[in-house]
Structure formats: C-alpha cells, structure tokens
Symmetry: C2
C-alpha cells in the first residue's frame, strides 16, 4: 500500500493524472517486483480489471513509467520486450547469454564499476537503468570452444 501511495505521488509530482488504468498497472508491478512481464501478460491482467482497455494506452503508460524510472524495459532475445519494476529496488544491470538466453542480474560491484567508468571517462550520469549486456555465460563459452 505504501509503495502504491508513493508511486501515485511520484506521478502527480510529474504532472501525470491518476487514471484507473494507471492504478491497476502500478499495482500489478508492485505485486510482481521480481518478474519480467511481457505485454500480453500485462494486457491480460488489465483486461480483467478494465475490460476493453486498449493496447495503445498500455504502451503509452509503460513508456511514461519508463521515463519516470519506475520500470525498466529489456529486450530478451526470442521473447520480445519485457518490463520490470525497479522503483525503490536495488538497481542492477542485466546480463543475457546470447547462446542459452539465460538472464542474470548483475551484482552491485559490477554496477558500481560500470557507473564509475561512464562518469569518469565520458561524463555520463544516471546511466543506471536500461543497460543490458549480451555475451556468453561460462557454460556456453565451454560449449562454443568444444
């Protein structure tokens, strides 16, 4: 409940109106903080609460939440785009294996090293979200070599 209120406040603070669609969407992310949700999943859920809700409204609201760094969008190869709740969560990067598709959460140490390098070398800041690395995990490196 607290997070819901905080998020409503965040939206208001950014001159965003509070609509039923937005309430349900926020709650859905709050209730699934660990999941990487696909659009069909989100749409199916909202359809329950608000029959007839339009695809484009969902896309527009996801875009808005992305802008406010409430959610993060990530492209999982072969699975389309996914959306994950990141508001007041421990921030991290994602690392995706190009061979087996495994998604790993980068740890704090990696995050800080990358952050520091971006700041020091290119004077880029707040590059904390929406970063996804693609490579080969240790298991698939072995397979590739063999």
């Amino acid at each position: 409940m607290k997070k819901h209120k905080d998020l409503i406040a965040l939206l208001r603070h950014n001159q965003q109106r509070i609509t039923p669609a937005r309430r349900f969407l926020l709650q859905f992310f709050i209730d699934n903080p660990a999941k990487r949700l696909s659009l069909p999943e989100i749409q199916a859920h909202l359809q329950d609460k608000l029959p007839g809700i339009n695809r484009s409204s969902i896309y527009r609201n996801l875009e808005m939440l992305k802008q406010l760094s409430v959610i993060q969008e990530l492209g999982v190869p072969g699975q389309g785009k996914r959306y994950q709740f990141v508001f007041e969560q421990q921030v991290h990067h994602f690392i995706i294996c190009k061979a087996c598709g495994k998604v790993v959460k980068g740890n704090r140490n990696l995050f800080e090293k990358v952050e520091k390098a971006l700041k020091e070398i290119h004077d880029f800041q707040k590059a904390n979200l929406s970063v996804t690395f693609y490579g080969f995990c240790s298991k698939c490196q072995a397979v590739e070599a063999g």
Copy 2:
C-alpha cells in the same frame, strides 16, 4: 574488395550461402563503415540493385550478420533500430543520451573496464558487442538540474 572476400569466406565458413542479396548487403556495410543505417535506408539501397527484394529477407539477413558479429544493432530512441558495420573495426560501446538523443562512441578505456568487470565478476565473455548505455550527457545533466 579484400573485406568483401573476407566476409564471403566468413559466411561460407558458417555454412551460409552466398546470394546476390547478401553480396549487396555486405558491400553496402563495407561502403558505409561509420554510418548507423536504418532499415529504410538499407531497403532503398537494395531495391536499386535487386528490385522487389523483400523486407523479410533483409531482416533475416541482418539477423544472420548480427549473429556472426559482422554488424551491431542499436536502438536509438525515437529513430527505431539502426545497424552498424563492426567487422574488423575497432570495437566499442555506444552511449546514448536519453534527453537529447546524442549517440557517442565509448572509448577504448571504457570498453576494457567494462569487459574486465564482466569477466571478473560474472565470468561472462565476449560481451563486447551490442552494448548500449543510456544515460544523460554532461550538457543534459545541466539542463535537468536547472
């Protein structure tokens, strides 16, 4: 000419057949090594050489070249996907400003730091391509703060 032959060899080595579409596509990338090409640009060019060439063939060939690390795909906000030649080029990351959309090539130092961190911390390798950072460049940081 040399690069063209090298690339043809690379394709053959990976059990890929050499078709007219692939030759023209490769040559187009060779001739525009610095450009971040959009699909419409690529399609328009190929249309000249091979009238009636189909969208899906281009997509499939771009996907194949991505797999072979001949090209890199990057999503520029507000401009859709772009494709850049990276074969035998100096490898680097891209840094994109979320505010002004400016695309910056990350330098060698950044690349090595990130590479090292990924290897040491998560045992991920060859994570050299397809990495795009989104953040705020120094100019837009100032604007945001003001």
